[in-house]
């Protein structure tokens, strides 16, 4: 009830300011007149009574202001005049306005860029099935280094096979080997060799992560004990190279097979 009333009066004060002002004027005029009559009845002469009545009520403009403010318009009025003043000032000093706007834009832009980067790198989890369930053995560096003290090739391919065979803890195990950066190869249909970013993954890799290869085949159970080569094995770089490979899946897979045979990894 009370809230409804407040909203009703506030709305009237904000949207029908002119009507409200003229109503207040009428009300005050009536008040002044009847007060002057009262004074005249007490024996004050006509003009003097009117003057005194007016003086007692005070400035009609100020009265209008305070009556309107009583209906909760102060915040609204101040906000409106502040905004108007701001716009006027901005137009008056366009240079200052430009500097302010540009620095705001730069500030917001820089922050957005940094946040997007952090979001992509740190906050958003890996785009795979159950990222929280993944466990990385070793520290993830090349050649299966288990710790920062020595270079132990602990995570060899036979190790992986044993691990799979006797695994009672994990739902599945996958192996990944990043080849050194000096791998070169030819894509079928091209003449020159080019540097390649190659990762060898076990046949369980895709099914374990629950992702699909962009082109070619995923491996699957029947590939279980064979390695597959992947151009730009990480999803993101694969994504970047998608256009390059589009329309040539057979060539790519054939190329991968050749890499297999070359490395003699097909076990």
């Amino acid at each position: 009830m009370r809230l409804r009333n407040r909203i009703r009066t506030w709305w009237k004060a904000v949207t029908r300011t002119r009507q409200l002002n003229s109503e207040i004027e009428d009300e005050l005029a009536f008040h002044i007149d009847s007060h002057a009559e009262e004074l005249m009845r007490k024996g004050v002469p006509g003009q003097e009574a009117l003057r005194r009545a007016r003086a007692e009520v005070g400035s009609v403009e100020a009265q209008k202001e305070t009556c309107r403010a009583a209906w909760g318009t102060r915040f609204w009025d101040e906000l409106r005049s502040d905004l108007r003043y701001a716009v006027r000032a901005l137009f008056k000093y366009p240079g200052f306005a430009a500097v302010a706007i540009v620095s705001l834009a730069l500030g917001i832009g820089a922050n957005t860029a940094i946040f997007s980067l952090m979001d992509a790198v740190m906050l958003r989890s890996l785009p795979v099935k159950d990222p929280g369930q993944l466990v990385l053995l070793g520290n993830g560096r090349a050649r299966g280094i288990t710790d920062d003290f020595g270079r132990t090739n602990l995570f060899s391919y036979p190790f992986y096979r044993q691990m799979r065979q006797y695994n009672q803890v994990f739902s599945d195990v996958a192996a990944i080997l990043t080849l050194n950066n000096d791998v070169h190869g030819t894509v079928s249909g091209r003449n020159e060799t080019e540097p390649m970013h190659v990762q060898l993954v076990s046949g369980t890799y895709f099914s374990l992560l629950g992702v699909q290869a962009m082109i070619g085949r995923n491996g699957g159970p029947e590939w279980r004990d064979r390695y597959r080569a992947l151009h730009a094995g990480q999803h993101r770089s694969r994504h970047r190279n998608r256009d390059e490979w589009r329309g040539r899946p057979d060539h790519f897979v054939a190329e991968c097979r050749r890499l297999h045979d070359h490395r003699n990894l097909s076990g």
Binding site: T9, E27, H31, S34, E38, A62, C67, A69
Partner: protein, 102 residues
Amino acid sequence: MLRARCCRRCARRSELKPDCCRIEQISGNRLEIPQGSLYPALYRLEHEGWLASEWGQSDKNRKAKYYRLTAAGRRRLNAEAKRWNHMADAIGAILSAAPEQI
């Protein structure tokens, strides 16, 4: 506070136009109410929903605004009057306490 109470009192009898002089008379000319502070107080009371106003004709056929106490306003008035009387009683009791009572 006092001002608001006075205005409420003037509107207590249903449909009276606000009149400071009348309030002063009722108070035995002991309360003086500045004319300028009457209307902002009335508007505030209307904003809170304790008064309702409507336009009508005065006895001299002039357009005049009449105020009426709403049900919520009456409840509030009773509550405030009770509080005031409570307070006045308390202070009266303190002031009239005899030395031997202390």
